[in-house]
């Protein structure tokens, strides 16, 4: 269990406890907020899950998959990379036919653009593929499972973060309790990305937002290898963790949140769909994803200077 990373890391426990205590305090101080968490206002728009954007291929005997028990290649919590749905999809995306990089890019594009974000409790990865939506952790798991099925090492990267205003407006500001919670902490306790080992190095893949959501936020459409950190998220220093598996406890927390706050979750889900719709129009007006992305990258401004951390002889570490 420990070896696979099922036991949460200390930073993660601290972040999760911080989040729970902060929410608990908020609700004790504002008991009326519990009602808000639980209910959707009767006249408000309700969430309707979008139709699946793909046909899940059927598993056939003899389809190739990776059965290694090596770290980052084996199944982990909620990430059964040997589930028939995963194997079938990985094969359809070109597993064992494409190079590792080409396959990872194909898996990245598939998950990022075909599976929209929906806030809901955790489930096994094959359920995610059957449903076609999920939280960022569902989607990262989907990407990691596809890569592992194709014999490419993949892992999770997690961090606590702040976000750009546009992201805040569409995911935090839409629910009064979520807003109070975020504002009281000053950051969001856990966000994640996938990392895949190709061409001799770990490459980041953030599959969370569809191009439309990124367009609605006015940011570039991130590509395979581009980090969310510095574009729409900002990691809190010292909170970045890398792990083979989702840890125990995370699913229970999300499950509890669903029970406690179905209204809040629904409001966020409605907002996400509205963002996707808004982004679709923006992309259309720009003349397609590529044209939009070109414009957005121009707006991103000058490139950050590269900083190689070279030791300086004048700085002496004396323990």
């Amino acid at each position: 269990m420990k070896e696979k990373g099922y036991i949460p890391q200390r930073t993660q426990v601290k972040l999760m406890m911080g989040g729970v205590i902060s929410l608990g305090k908020l609700l004790i101080k504002n008991p009326g907020d519990i009602k808000i968490l639980r209910q959707m206002e009767p006249l408000k728009e309700r969430y309707i899950r979008p139709q699946m954007a793909y046909d899940l291929p059927k598993y056939k005997d003899g389809m190739k998959y990776c059965d290694s028990e090596e770290k980052y290649l084996r199944p982990t919590l909620y990430c059964n990379c040997r589930a028939p749905e995963v194997i079938a999809l990985a094969n359809e995306l070109g597993a064992y036919k494409k190079s590792d990089r080409e396959f990872a890019e194909a898996a990245f594009h598939f998950v990022k653009e075909k599976l929209p974000l929906e806030i809901l409790p955790f489930n096994e990865v094959e359920v995610t593929f059957r449903r076609g939506t999920g939280t960022c952790f569902h989607l990262i798991t989907a990407f990691i499972a596809l890569c592992r099925a194709a014999g490419i090492k993949a892992r999770y990267k997690m961090f606590a973060m702040n976000m750009i205003q546009a992201w805040y407006d569409s995911t935090i500001d839409v629910d009064p309790v979520v807003k109070k919670w975020y504002d009281s902490m000053g950051y969001f306790m856990l966000e994640g990305e996938g990392e895949v080992y190709v061409d001799g190095k770990w490459t980041v893949a953030h599959v969370g937002p569809k191009a439309e959501r990124q367009a609605a936020a006015g940011i570039s459409v991130t590509k395979f290898g581009e980090d969310s950190i510095g574009v729409w998220f900002f990691a809190l220093p010292g909170t970045t963790m890398r792990m083979e598996s989702l840890p125990y406890g995370l699913a229970a927390m999300v499950g509890f949140a669903k029970k406690l706050a179905p209204g809040s979750m629904e409001r966020v889900n409605v907002s996400i769909q509205n963002q996707i719709e808004m982004g679709r129009k923006i992309i259309e007006e720009a003349g397609g994803v590529e044209a939009y992305d070109k414009q957005a990258r121009k707006k991103k401004g000058p490139k950050q200077p590269k900083m190689d951390l070279n030791g300086r002889k004048e700085i002496i570490f004396r323990e």
């Binding site: 510095g230 900002f234 707006k299 590269k306």
Partner: protein, 457 residues
């Protein structure tokens, strides 16, 4: 008569700040541009342009030659010192996005990161901890004679900037001269001041630190926040932090913050009875809370023309409530009796050493254009002309210990001249806002977040 009066006035300031001015024979074009002009806001444009070009070109060569990461950045952008031949070429200088100074590692690597930002040779810096905190690294640098300061911890990420003593003196002198020029003829070394910021000796927050010059410019200064303010304390006092330590810190913070308001009122009562000039300098929200308390008590003062207020750091008073600068001035007039022309806002930031100070006539923010070039960028980061709004960026020649060619997240409108007064240089419209999509920031915002809960709001 007035001109002569001003010369004597500013000479007196230079005497007070003698320690800040390097010996004349060591002056560089940067020193020429800052220390030589008597009034930074009244330099004839042609003369200022020459000073600006020489000082910025000097700074650019200096960073290109002595800073490895900036040299790499210039090479990547295909810009070299020889390309900067005229004032028009300054636009070619590669500008660093402000986020760069927020993207740092922790522990020992943070020390190395600071060392790599720094231009030139560092003094010997000894770090005695195996996993040093940010404060421990900063203390080690500062013990070695540097001034590492920070700002904008609102979102949990401070902006850290390393200054050497010369750059710090340039910055301190610049803010003092800028404000004193604008409040002419009110400043007098014997006046009494109240610093509405942390004690400069007890914090490394830049807005507080740079105010150490206040103690040399004015004989008698009281300090509103006379306790140690560290990154750790900011973390603990920011809302939502849990734990006994955090609770204790907040308990004491609450008591001291309420006492702070009472102390300022007592100070006002004491100075009401004298004929001395008084000046408040610092975060507007503290004075706002003082005035709110006085209003509740149905009290007011009448300091008239012998009072002045210099504010800076942002205008948020409560969460989501931003006080307008004009409303604040009116309240200062109504409650303290200080005329609006003596209530001036200062716009600056930890990454820069240029201080834009409002003129008393129109409250436009005047740019110190002899050593600092303001730039406005559009959505695509292209430079735009006067009269257009956009993202503020600057070329700051006074930054000698780090490359001061930086974009900000602030939205401004730059005008060629002040529409109200006769000072010749460029101005920013009075209220600076944040560019959509960038986080809230401002030193006063940090202080406010720490203290509004304490004051009970």
């Amino acid at each position: 008569m007035i001109e002569q009066g001003y010369d004597v006035y500013i000479k007196k300031l230079d005497e007070c700040l003698n320690n800040y001015i390097p010996p004349r024979d060591t002056w560089t074009p940067v020193d020429e541009a800052l220390y030589k002009p008597k009034d930074l806001y009244r330099i004839p444009l042609k003369e200022a342009e020459e000073l600006q070009f020489k000082s910025i070109k000097f700074a650019f060569n200096h960073h290109y030659t002595n800073n490895k990461f900036y040299q790499g950045f210039c090479k990547e952008n295909n810009v070299f010192p020889d390309d900067i031949k005229t004032s028009g070429d300054l636009a070619k200088i590669p500008i660093i996005p402000d986020g760069f100074f927020k993207d740092y590692p922790r522990g020992k690597e943070f020390a190395t990161w600071l060392g790599n930002i720094y231009t030139g040779d560092l003094p010997e810096i000894v770090i005695k901890h195996s996993a040093p905190t940010y404060d421990q690294v900063i203390d080690a640098f500062n013990d070695a004679g540097l001034i590492v300061s920070y700002s904008s911890g609102t979102s949990g990420r401070h902006t850290f900037v390393p200054r050497d003593q010369r750059t710090f003196f340039l910055s301190e002198y610049a803010i003092a001269k800028s404000v004193v020029s604008m409040i002419y003829p009110l400043w007098d070394h014997n006046m009494s001041g109240y610093l509405l910021m942390p004690n400069p000796n007890k914090t490394n927050i830049y807005a507080g630190k740079v105010c150490s010059v206040y103690f040399d410019a004015i004989r008698d200064v009281s300090v509103a926040i006379d306790r140690e303010i560290t990154t750790e304390l900011i973390k603990l006092t920011m809302g939502g932090r849990r734990g006994l330590k955090s609770k204790m810190v907040r308990f004491f913070s609450k008591r001291t913050s309420q006492k702070m308001i009472d102390d300022i009122i007592k100070w006002l009562e004491r100075h009401e009875k004298t004929k001395e000039n008084i000046v408040f300098v610092g975060a507007p929200f503290i004075l706002y809370f003082v005035m709110e308390k006085l209003k509740k008590q149905g009290r007011s003062f009448d300091f008239g023309g012998r009072g002045a207020v210099g504010t800076g750091g942002g205008w948020k008073i409560h969460e989501n409530i931003r006080l307008s600068v004009a409303d604040f001035r009116k309240e200062v007039k109504d409650v303290l009796g200080i005329p609006e022309k003596h209530c001036l806002d200062v716009y600056g930031m930890v990454e820069g050493n240029g201080w834009m100070v409002q003129c008393p006539e129109g409250h436009y923010l005047h740019v110190p254009y002899s050593y600092y070039k303001p730039i406005v960028l559009d959505d695509e980061f292209e430079q735009v002309g006067y009269g257009e709004s956009g993202r503020f960026a600057f070329l700051d020649s006074a930054a000698l210990s780090y490359p001061g060619f930086i974009t900000t997240g602030d939205k401004v409108k730059l005008l060629e001249h002040c529409p109200v007064c006769d000072r010749p240089g460029p101005v920013l419209e009075p209220e600076v806002k944040r560019v959509v999509g960038t986080e809230m920031r401002g030193c006063a915002e940090e202080m406010r977040t720490m203290m509004t809960g304490d004051i009970g709001r």
